[in-house]
Subunit: 532 residues, 2 copies
Amino acid sequence: MGSLNDFDLTINDSISSNVNNPMDPEEFRRQGHMMIDFIADYYKNIEKYPVLSQVEPGYLKKRLPKSAPYYPESIETILNDVQDHIVPGITHWQSPNYYAYFPSSGSIAGFLGEMLATGFNVVGFNWMSSPAATELESIVMDWLGDMLRLPKSFLFSGNGGGVLQGTTCEAILCTLVAARDRTLNKIGKDNIGKLSVYCSDQTHCAFKKAAQIAGINMNNFRVIPTNLSSSFSMSPELLRKTIVADLEAGLVPTFLLATVGTTSTTAVDPLGPLCNVAKDYGMWVHVDAAYAGSVCICPEFRHFIDGVEGANSFSFNAHKWFFTTLDCCCLWVRDPAALTKSLTTDPEYLKNKATESKQVVDYKDWQIALSRRFRSLKLWLVLRSYGVEKLRGFLRSHVKMAKMFEGFLVADDRFEIVVPRNFATVCFRLSPSAISTKPVLYEINGTRRSSGGPEKALTVNEINAKLMDSINGSGRIYMTHSVVDGIFLLRFAVGASLTEESHVVTAWKVVKEHADAILSRYNTCEFGPGQQ
Amino acid sequence: MGSLNDFDLTINDSISSNVNNPMDPEEFRRQGHMMIDFIADYYKNIEKYPVLSQVEPGYLKKRLPKSAPYYPESIETILNDVQDHIVPGITHWQSPNYYAYFPSSGSIAGFLGEMLATGFNVVGFNWMSSPAATELESIVMDWLGDMLRLPKSFLFSGNGGGVLQGTTCEAILCTLVAARDRTLNKIGKDNIGKLSVYCSDQTHCAFKKAAQIAGINMNNFRVIPTNLSSSFSMSPELLRKTIVADLEAGLVPTFLLATVGTTSTTAVDPLGPLCNVAKDYGMWVHVDAAYAGSVCICPEFRHFIDGVEGANSFSFNAHKWFFTTLDCCCLWVRDPAALTKSLTTDPEYLKNKATESKQVVDYKDWQIALSRRFRSLKLWLVLRSYGVEKLRGFLRSHVKMAKMFEGFLVADDRFEIVVPRNFATVCFRLSPSAISTKPVLYEINGTRRSSGGPEKALTVNEINAKLMDSINGSGRIYMTHSVVDGIFLLRFAVGASLTEESHVVTAWKVVKEHADAILSRYNTCEFGPGQQ
């Protein structure tokens, strides 16, 4: 292992030749243009690929070398490998035929903003480290807060403020830690085991993880049950009952997570009544509108966040349905000091006069990490390239397409809509009335077989799972599922930016074809239910 | 506020006209090429801008409108505004004259990898969501682990494994939570208040923040003092003494953070001896090599991480000194199950056959957030575009330039090197022997004034702070400071990718000019110390 003397020798060997600058502007230009064309062609051809990648686990290890190359390889070689080995392993989230999870809506403006942030590559932990990064973020967060008609108290112009986090998981963790410490400062730090936190059984799993990370006693993690009859929204009465019981048991209710647009069914928790309950017990309320927040810039959807004025913090993912690429979670807090009290660091090597003047925001104290990318650029480019008008238009077109798909389902009585559609996600299934759950005989290649074995027929849920697998296996469209109140449902989430009406028409054809095949294979109900 | 009927009307109004697709491939191509040229020109002209932004707090609010535009604006208009309003507020981390903090070394390959990740825009939370994103990450983490000669037990090929986090802050938080829960599973969750954690007074502030977030009782956050005589490395003996005292007080030592390349002075903690101490008490050791880890791919530097085989986890930032843009922190763990036990979520809407088969890695369970970008692309492009050979060459050239700067300092006896240089960062100051700390008179515009007021002379630290401010205020180069053992020092960190030897020569000229001016203004020691 080298002493400093060896080192002197090796330096001269290795840098004597062939060290070109890795940031040479003209080489950057040459390769950058190649990459733009590569990606533009990818979008142009994206419908040729199966939406859901069809590779098997371990596929890539078989195709790549066992170790990093010793000598440089050309960009041309690398791009060929991307095409040959990476693209087959991609599930094409940008495909117009992508309807899974919640799509991540990209856009040209979002892409360009990310490029610009990567190009400047500033590490904007505090104001000083690149003032534009901090100031642009504060400005666009106020712009966006205005577009959403958030209460003034959430904006910098009203002594609150907004910050870009990577993901909702981080937004939840930061606000939970702020709430935790706010309470512990009153009741003493030794009482962390007594804090209780609240959500519904539809709340995103990010909350449970955040609570685990923040050291909340998981015995005090309260999950309020919901059901189909109330469209899976959280009951304020049940919340209050749970809180009262916890208080009686000596716990300290601390934090409520309410959701606008849950992951499974886009359910909406009633913010006003929930905040009123939380207020009675001095709890922090965070509103997770990861999916549905963005569409609330349309006046006709704004009512879904009515009541947010009673919350302490609010977040939505601009990378989900607001045309900025991953990652870009917009978080507003009413009391930034509560956040920064928990998250501030002040080491000597970051001290500077701007911070000491207290005239600036240092966003490192609003988030988990110290380093942060210049994310506001992509949000700014999206807001300016499209303007409020076009952004509303894009969102409404997605809702309209979802509605169209819903119309197709409604017109075919083999299907049912499981919960009313709120936004651009349709939750549906093959209706129990269209499915026989008794064992039936059917023929494959002349051999008579029984569905689900001789004793057991497939359940309605199993048939629907088969429908989904069959659709996704075709590679033509991609949808995902959930199970709520025991019901397996398929989720058709419109939101990929390339999706147009013709794609939805095709998607419906695909769904119908696979439903025909599944029903004719597993079902005797060809002439409607109750006839076998 | 719109009912569903109003909504029907508004839809038709707004999407009737002018909704072009926000991802149109040909428009993408046109604007993408423009942005490449914009950024290439930025790099070409980067030396024309002051390295440290000279704007005042609030500058941008005065220049931008109060709200988001209602109608779309052209990319040409937006790029003009970037040039006119954003660039002046940028501190140019990519400038060859940037020597502050630790530079964030960009590269063409890193930039292209980020573009590709943004282009695919997959949300790779689990294998299923885009197999290539997971598999490429596992493969390059093994490649890189091999390059660093990490113990096999840290690699997938040895039942450990690597993962890309955003930042070291996240890597520390995740491993701390894993260690915390490992201990709590033995001693009971109610004992979280008894856990103690250890670091040195040189450890990055990220650790304290992580401990706060993870609910560690901050009374049990132990900071081992270091000093100049041991070059600020952590003493294993002092660590053991502290642990023993804590055990006697009924605490449960849980986690040690050791650093290779501290932020202030790039000090190196002795991993082997520290891990031996930690092992005696069953503690988790995380090695934070955020800055210096990358250079350990050069054989002559590898000895700095000798002893890592005794640690539980190891991380370094590829976005710091490994040519991938922010963010890209490489974390390896010996026991992935310890991590995933704390961080796994398993909601119904993410269930899939690949996960159930247990043949795949689901990286969402290795990190805080659910969503994750396809970060491995940039690391893969860097490794392939440059190869091991060129990467070593780049790193060595930075070390060589730092050494050159150090040589300039050594040859000028007004300066002193505060701590021996380990890597490409030089810690120096104007030597006390070159500075009079008695009040002196000097002239400004013909008026005689006293330095630091009539009674008080400037201290050595104050003079050095003035030197730094004077240098940075010139905009020609940018450096930052730290204070260790009471000594204010200037840090000259070579690492910006565009920096070449000529820049370092210029930097030295700038330092000398400002030192001349400061000393002649505040000092009577023109003919050496002790002569006034």
